[in-house]
C-alpha cells in the first residue's frame, strides 16, 4: 500500500519520535506536515499509538488486569501520586509467571514461546484456553510475587523498580498484616539504591519494617505521631518502630515537636488503620511488644522518638536534630533546637552496659554535637563531645530551599510562586481561569468573585460604580470596601465625574517576557501580545501581568505563609506602567489609575498613569499579619480604551522565619 508521499514521510518521522531519535529538523518537519492536515495528525497519532501499544503488549501487563478488582489490590490502595513518581505504564514492571524456584529471578527466554506467542498460537479455542490460563497465572504471579504489603502500583521514582525481581519474598499470605506508622510526605530528586535485592517502596504509606535506601536526593517521612524525618541520600534507614528507626548509613534530620506533657504532636495520630484494625500507634502507646516488628534491632516501643545507629541511640527530648552515620558506623549527632540524649549502643539498638555513660548517655542541647566512635580494640562505642568532637556535618533541614521570592505571575497562572507558569489568566468577571488571551469587552455587576481553584488568589473583581451615591467596591473576601475610585474633572465649568464603568478588556493575564515568534500566541490580537515597549517593564525578564482597566485582583498572603512556613512575604515589588502598541484609533490615548491595598487600606497609588510616564517602581512593605494584597486598575476620564496597564516582574520578596 502506498501512502500519500507526505504521509509516507510522516510515518518514518513518527517512528523516529517513538525511538527517541527525532532531530530538531525532523520535529519541525512533523509540525509542518501535520499543522494543516487533520488526516496527517491522525496518521501521526496512529503511529505513536502503535508504538505505545506494542510497548504495552511487551510489558505482559494488560488493561484488563489493571482494571480487575483484586488485581489492583491492596498495594495500589496504598499509593498516592504527588509523593513519589509514577512508573510509566509502557515501561512498568512486568509481572512474570511464578518461577518454579521462588528465589530465582524470572527469566525471559526468547527460545521458548514468548508473551506474544501465548496469545497468538494455534486456533481460537487453543488461543482462548491458553490466554485464560495465562491470564490466571499472570494475575497469580502479580498478586503473589510483585506486591509487597506496602507497595502501590504507580508511585515512586526508581531505577530498579522497572526490573523484574522477586528477591525471594515470602508469599503475601504468609506475611503479617502490615502496620502503617506514617506516610512519605515529600520526595526531592530521590533515587533509590541500585542494590539488586532492594525493592524500592512505591506506596506513600510507611509500613513498620520498611527499609528506605536512597542513593541520592531527599525523602521526608512523617510519622503518625507527627515526628518528621528527612532522609538524605546516600542513606539506609529502617522504620523499625512507631517512634523512630534504625539509621545504618547516611544522614537524617528529625523534627519532633511536643505538645504539653511531652507527648509528640500529631494531628493525624490514629489508633486504628483504615480497616479498623489497631495500628502501630495503639500498640506503642500501650507499650506492648510489636508482634509484627520485623527488626531484630528494634527495642520495645517508646513514646520518645529515637534514632538508633550501629554505635548510638539518639533519643529526642523535644527537638530538631541531625544524625549522620559514616561507613565505619561512627555516629555524629547535632542538635539544632531543643535537646537530645545520646547513648552509646552495642550495635543491637540497646545501650551499652559497661560504660559510665551507658545508662544516661549525654544530653546535647542546641548547637551541640557529639560523636560516637567505635573503639577498634574493644569494639565498643565511645562518646566524644566538646573539643574532641568533629565539626557537625551539614544536614538538610528542609525538603526544599525556602524561596527568596515568589513569582506572582506563576501564582496568577495557577502555580505556587516557585514555578514559571505563564500564558494563563483569570477572568475578573467570574473568577474562572482563562486559558486563551482574548481582547473581548467584559462586563461585571461589581460582584467580588472568589477564585477557589487558586489557593493564593482570594478573588477578582471589576470596579463598577453606577452612581456616585453608591461608590462602594468590595476589594477582598473579608468585606473590605473602597469608595474613592471615582475620578473628577472640571470641563467647561462643569464637574465631570467619571466612574469605573464595570467594563474591562480581556482577562487579568500572565505573559512571558519573551514570546517565541513561532508561538501561536504571538499572533493573537490580544493587546498584551502587541506591546511595543514591553521590555522596559520586564527588567528581570520574568514577564507581565496585564490588567486592562477596570480590573482588580486580591492575593491571599495568609495562604502564602501557610504554604511556605519557612518564609514570610515582606515586600511586593513590580515595575508598572501603561504599555503602548498599534492602535486602531491613533489619536486615542490610554491612561489609568493604579491602586494597591493591604487589607483594604490604600498603601500605594498613581493617578493617571500614561505611557509617557515610563516604568514606575512599585515597592510595598508587607507586615507579618497582613492578609490581603489587592491590585486594582481603573479607567481615567477618557474611558478605558487603550488602558493597557501592566505590572512587570511582580514578585513577593520573602524573609526566612527562624525555627521556633
Amino acid at each position: 500500500m502506498r501512502e500519500n508521499p507526505r504521509l509516507d514521510e510522516l510515518i518514518d518521522l513518527a517512528f523516529a519520535v517513538c525511538d527517541g531519535a527525532a532531530t530538531d529538523e525532523q520535529i519541525g518537519l512533523i509540525e509542518e506536515i501535520i499543522s494543516g492536515d487533520p488526516s496527517a495528525r491522525l496518521r501521526y497519532l496512529q503511529c505513536l499509538e502503535l508504538h505505545l501499544e506494542m510497548d504495552r503488549l511487551g510489558s505482559a501487563d494488560s488493561d484488563e488486569a489493571a482494571e480487575r478488582p483484586g488485581v489492583a489490590g491492596a498495594g495500589i490502595q496504598d499509593s498516592l501520586p504527588g509523593i513519589g513518581c509514577i512508573i510509566a505504564p509502557g515501561n512498568a514492571e512486568s509481572f512474570p509467571l511464578p518461577p518454579a524456584d521462588p528465589d530465582a529471578p524470572p527469566v525471559v527466554n526468547l527460545s521458548v514461546p514468548s508473551k506474544f506467542a501465548h496469545s497468538f498460537a494455534g486456533g481460537w479455542a487453543f488461543s482462548y484456553a491458553v490466554a485464560t490460563v495465562f491470564m490466571c497465572l499472570l494475575l497469580l504471579g502479580f498478586w503473589a510475587y510483585k506486591l509487597p504489603s506496602d507497595r502501590g502500583s504507580s508511585i515512586a521514582s526508581n531505577e530498579n523498580s522497572r526490573r523484574s525481581t522477586t528477591s525471594g519474598e515470602e508469599p503475601i499470605h504468609d506475611r503479617p498484616t502490615p502496620i502503617f506508622v506514617g506516610r512519605v510526605t515529600g520526595i526531592a530528586a530521590a533515587k533509590w539504591s541500585d542494590e539488586p535485592n532492594y525493592i524500592a517502596p512505591i506506596g506513600y504509606r510507611v509500613a513498620l519494617g520498611r527499609q528506605y535506601k536512597l542513593k541520592s536526593g531527599l525523602m521526608e517521612i512523617t510519622y503518625d505521631s507527627g515526628a518528621k524525618v528527612i532522609l538524605e541520600g546516600p542513606c539506609s534507614y529502617e522504620v523499625d518502630s512507631t517512634a523512630g528507626g534504625y539509621l545504618a548509613l547516611g544522614k537524617l534530620t528529625a523534627k519532633v515537636e511536643r505538645g504539653e506533657g511531652g507527648e509528640e504532636r500529631g494531628e493525624n495520630r490514629r489508633m486504628k488503620d483504615e480497616g479498623g484494625r489497631p495500628n502501630a500507634d495503639s500498640l506503642a502507646t500501650s507499650h506492648q511488644p510489636l508482634a509484627t516488628n520485623p527488626s531484630p534491632l528494634s527495642p520495645l516501643p517508646s513514646p520518645l522518638f529515637t534514632v538508633r545507629t550501629p554505635t548510638a541511640i539518639v533519643t529526642d527530648l523535644g527537638t530538631e536534630f541531625g544524625v549522620e552515620v559514616n561507613e565505619d558506623g561512627d555516629t555524629t549527632s547535632h542538635v539544632f533546637v531543643g535537646s537530645v540524649r545520646v547513648q552509646a549502643s552495642d550495635g543491637t539498638g540497646s545501650a551499652q552496659g559497661n560504660l559510665a555513660t551507658a545508662s544516661t548517655g549525654v544530653v546535647l542541647r542546641a548547637n551541640e554535637s557529639a560523636r560516637l566512635k567505635k573503639d577498634a580494640a574493644s569494639g565498643e562505642s565511645r562518646i566524644v563531645t566538646g573539643a574532641e568532637s568533629v565539626a557537625p556535618p551539614k544536614f538538610a533541614r528542609r525538603m526544599r530551599e525556602p524561596p527568596k521570592r515568589l513569582d506572582m505571575l506563576d501564582i496568577v497562572a495557577g502555580g505556587d510562586g516557585t514555578g514559571n507558569r505563564r500564558e494563563r489568566g483569570i477572568d475578573p468577571t467570574t473568577g474562572r481561569q482563562d486559558t486563551w488571551p482574548l481582547a473581548d469587552t467584559r462586563k461585571s455587576n461589581n460582584d467580588y468573585h472568589t477564585v477557589p481553584w487558586n489557593r493564593f488568589i482570594d478573588g477578582v473583581f471589576v470596579p463598577y460604580i453606577p452612581t456616585v451615591k453608591t461608590p462602594i467596591v468590595q476589594i477582598d473576601s473579608a468585606g473590605h470596601i473602597y469608595k474613592d475610585f471615582c475620578a473628577e474633572k472640571i470641563i467647561g465649568g462643569r464637574h465631570i465625574i467619571n466612574k469605573p464603568n464595570g467594563k474591562t478588556i480581556g482577562g487579568i493575564w500572565v505573559r512571558a517576557a519573551e514570546i517565541d515568534s513561532r508561538d501561536s500566541l504571538s499572533n493573537t490580537s490580544c493587546w498584551i501580545y502587541n506591546i511595543d515597549d514591553d521590555r522596559q517593564y520586564t527588567p528581570a525578564g520574568r514577564g507581565l501581568l496585564g490588567m486592562h482597566a477596570n480590573a482588580g485582583i486580591t492575593f491571599d498572603l495568609e495562604a502564602v505563609r501557610k504554604a511556605f512556613e519557612e518564609v514570610r512575604p515582606t515586600r511586593f515589588h513590580a515595575t508598572a506602567g501603561l504599555a503602548k502598541g498599534p492602535k486602531k484609533y491613533e489619536d486615542a490615548v490610554g491612561s489609568a489609575d493604579l491602586w494597591i491595598f493591604i487589607d483594604g487600606r490604600l498603601v500605594w497609588n498613581r493617578i493617571c498613569v500614561r505611557n509617557v510616564d515610563g516604568p514606575l517602581d512599585v515597592d510595598v512593605a508587607l507586615g507579618p499579619n497582613n492578609r490581603f494584597l489587592t491590585v486594582v486598575s481603573t479607567q481615567r476620564l477618557d474611558g478605558n480604551a487603550y488602558d493597557w496597564l501592566v505590572l512587570g516582574d511582580p514578585v513577593l520578596e520573602t524573609t526566612p522565619i527562624e525555627s521556633k
Binding site: 503511529c47 502503535l50 511487551g58 504507580s154
Partner: protein
C-alpha cells in the same frame, strides 16, 4: 492537599493511568519524557481532585489537566531541546480526542496483526518491545548494522500499520 477520598482517587487513577500515559506520550515530541509529565499530572490531579465532579468522565477531566501539564513541560524545557509548538500540541490533543474510538479499535487489531507477522519479524519486534532492547543492542545481537536493523524495524512497523488499517476498514473506519 486534597481533602478527597484517596482510595477513590487511586481507584480511578490506576484504572485510567495507562490511557493517560498514552495520551501524554502522544503529545510529546519526546515520548520518553511522558513519565515525568505523568508524574506531575498525577500530583496535580490529586491536588485538584476536590474539583472533579463525580459522575463526569474521569479520563476526560484528567486529560484536560494532562494537556496543560504537557504544555507546561514543553514550555519549561524548550530552551533545552525542541518540542512541538503549543498550537501543534493543542491540535494533536483535539485530534486524539476526536478519534479516541478509532485508536482503541487500532489497539484491538494490532494483536492480530502481530500474529500475522513472519516469524523472523515477530522475533525482532518482540526483542525490541518485550525485552525493551535498544536498536543498537538489538543490532549487535542479531549481527546487523544499526541502520539495517532500524530499517527492518521501520518496515515491520509499517506492515503492522497497514495491517491495522485493513482491519479498521473492515469495521467501517475510513
Amino acid at each position: 492537599m486534597s481533602q478527597s477520598n484517596p482510595d477513590e482517587f487511586v481507584a480511578l487513577y490506576t484504572r485510567f493511568e495507562r490511557k493517560l500515559y498514552r495520551y501524554v506520550a502522544s503529545l510529546l515530541a519526546h515520548p520518553q519524557e511522558a513519565e515525568d509529565v505523568l508524574q506531575e499530572t498525577a500530583r496535580v490531579l490529586w491536588q485538584k481532585f476536590d474539583q472533579y465532579r463525580r459522575g463526569e468522565p474521569f479520563l476526560t477531566w484528567a486529560c484536560g489537566i494532562a494537556r496543560y501539564e504537557v504544555l507546561n513541560h514543553c514550555r519549561r524545557e524548550r530552551t533545552r531541546r525542541k518540542y512541538f509548538r503549543p498550537a501543534i500540541i493543542e491540535m494533536l490533543a483535539d485530534t486524539r480526542r476526536d478519534n479516541d474510538q478509532l485508536l482503541d479499535a487500532q489497539s484491538r487489531w494490532l494483536k492480530e496483526c502481530v500474529e500475522k507477522l513472519a516469524a523472523g519479524d515477530r522475533a525482532l519486534i518482540e526483542r525490541r518491545y518485550a525485552d525493551g532492547q535498544s536498536l543498537a543492542d538489538l543490532a549487535a545481537e542479531v549481527g546487523r548494522t544499526p541502520n539495517a536493523t532500524y530499517k527492518s524495524m521501520q518496515r515491520i512497523r509499517r506492515t503492522l500499520l497497514h495491517c491495522v488499517d485493513d482491519g479498521l476498514k473492515t469495521e467501517g473506519w475510513k
